[in-house]
Amino acid sequence: MNGADAIVKCLEMEKVEYVFGYPGVAICPFYDSILNTKIKTVLVRHEQHAAHAASGYARLTGKVGVVAVTSGPGATNVITGIATAYADSIPLVVITGQVDSRLMGSDVFQEADVSGACESFVKYSYIIRNAEDVPRIVKEAFYIANSGRKGPVLIDFPIDIQNQKIGKLEYPETVSMRSYKPTVKGHTRQIDKVVRELKKAKRPLICTGGGAHLSGAADVIRSFAEKHNVPVVSTMMGLGTLPTEHPLFFGMVGNNGQAYGNRAMNQADMILLAGARVADRSIARPNEIEDNKVLVHIDVDPAEIGKNAGPSIPLVGDLKSVFEELDKEAISTSTEEWLKMLADFRREAEQDKKAKADLVTTPGTVDPTRFIRALSDAMEKDAVYVADVGQNQLWSCANCIIREGRFFTTGGMGCMGYSVPAAMGAKLAEPDRQVVAVCGDGAFQMCMMELGTMRQYNVPVKIAVIRNNVLGLVRQFQHFTYKDRFSVIDLTGSPDLESIAAAYGMKFLHLNDEAKMAETVKAFLENDESVLLQCDVDPNEVA
């Protein structure tokens, strides 16, 4: 047995189902050993997408997504994917091949200091110097990636160590790291304080972030909210904690969120910020968030608490565990008036939206917000919706109807080209679930090479490309900020998507007439097959 055999054995012990990646000489021992296992490999068309695919897989399964790429350019290409996973706290283990350990540091062919390059956006990194350390390192890597505040872990694996012979493999059952012991259980005294304040609060509000999904707390938060009639809003990453049309759900907060969601934040006298990091896009003026209200910040990462807003009650712990504890407490709340006020806010906003719904769109285009609503409304109730980055993301956040399904997007890094590979990873994780990727024509062209991967491994993801032939969100920004002095946003020269679909053997649909919206969406979603849908929108539409 050599180091490479050992690492794939360890992956088997971790019940790894898929490895997403791209081989090269420096990772060939690994890809040779993996042939002896039942682990399935997926050859992506660009290393960045291996990390995004693993991210989609991890988000749907709650397991660690695994990536294996070669040294040098393979490793540097995967970096954007790692940074994206780090910003969104997605658990990944990324294995990079490395040159011979005796040559490291001498700038040989395809050598890159990937652990150095990634330091500020991995949760932890290892360089394996001795194959005997493989079992301990893999065990630790999986534990670190998927515990506490989740995130990517890098394992840099020099080729000579992959080939190093070792004795019997003993995979450790437990991890013991003296410097890493994440807090799971919330402090009783802090929980008591929260309960005391909740009893006093007249206008309590729960604001959920990505942590609600990462800790698997969505169900317990929902039952807590229902039991005590506490309204809920979400950040972009928290969308889906409660179904969009749940009476207690009052939209997304932030500068791209719903006005009534933000009004709820302003009017609340107590906010339970749950697994949200008070990011600049969610909370515009963090210094003011605690004004006139009790701010409870619950997060598994103590460094997030107090980073951007000083809470009245800091509460470190895993959300699921904390809400389970809170759920045991007898709290009587009377929030009828508060809920009525929020419902009024929502009604006002809905009326504005209805007024806009009657607006006529430019001939040959459709209204993107109506399209997103029609699409998500027709999707299966447990479907996975993956939004890319740009105007499509903002239209999706504001209009996607989430029921029992999931909504994925990259809120932290905002990495264009995320949707297709992440949707692919999600579909591989649960082949029976409907998975739809929605992207703009800019983002699509950053990831369309993955249509080859989808075809090769028969991954029937549905892709809707909202096409306006420009980089819409940048154009919108230049429209408002630079008074229509447009610079480098024109996508003229983009390929004919029908021909692209034909080249990859995919069904193609074209929507440029609102009258045909329902039938096109139906044709898009029927049958479990890959479909590329082009939806033309006016470049002047703003999100």
Binding site: G116, S120, I127, S179, D301, A303, K307
Partner: protein, 160 residues
């Protein structure tokens, strides 16, 4: 505001880079940094002196604790600790100022540890403030080179 961070870390390659990289990335200031092994050779002690407001100080402590190679962070103000800095100063002397330098050394408890070709190296090991005063006292003398260890500190015995 000055704050001292006593950081116990795993004694392995790359850790110094990770910790100093954290300060750089998050725009925290490092006034001085000294590293050495502790009584347990698998653990190193970093003494970091940093200046920043209260919010920055809290973030430094939390972000340090978040690093997986960091075992323990203790933070304290200068007044709560005994602090020492070692400074080596190479100066050019002449017959005229030799006596003056020696007097200065004797007053400030500094030692001349090397001497040749009209040059001498002086060692002072004292609090950072006194080391600085000593340096200022030598301002009229031609200083050739200086090296400073950075502050090392331990909390006072009564502070635990």
């Amino acid at each position: 505001m000055k704050r001292i961070y006593n950081v116990l870390v795993q004694n392995q390659s790359g850790v110094l880079c990770k910790v100093s990289g954290l300060f750089w990335r998050r725009c925290f200031n490092i006034d001085s940094l000294a590293v050495g092994e502790t009584e347990d050779n698998s653990v190193s002690n970093m003494t970091i002196v940093s200046t920043g407001d209260e919010h920055t100080q809290e973030q430094i402590e939390k972000q340090l604790n978040k690093k997986l190679d960091v075992i323990k962070v203790k933070t304290f103000d200068e007044g709560e600790a005994v602090c020492r800095e070692l400074m080596l100063i190479k100066v050019k002397y002449s017959r005229d100022n030799r006596r003056d330098i020696i007097d200065n050394c004797s007053v400030m408890n500094a030692t001349i540890i090397d001497m040749a070709n009209n040059m001498m190296t002086i060692q002072i090991c004292d609090t950072p403030e006194r080391a600085q005063i000593f340096l200022e006292n030598l301002s009229h003398i031609k200083i050739v080179e200086i090296t400073r260890s950075g502050t090392v500190a331990l909390t006072k015995c009564k502070e635990g």
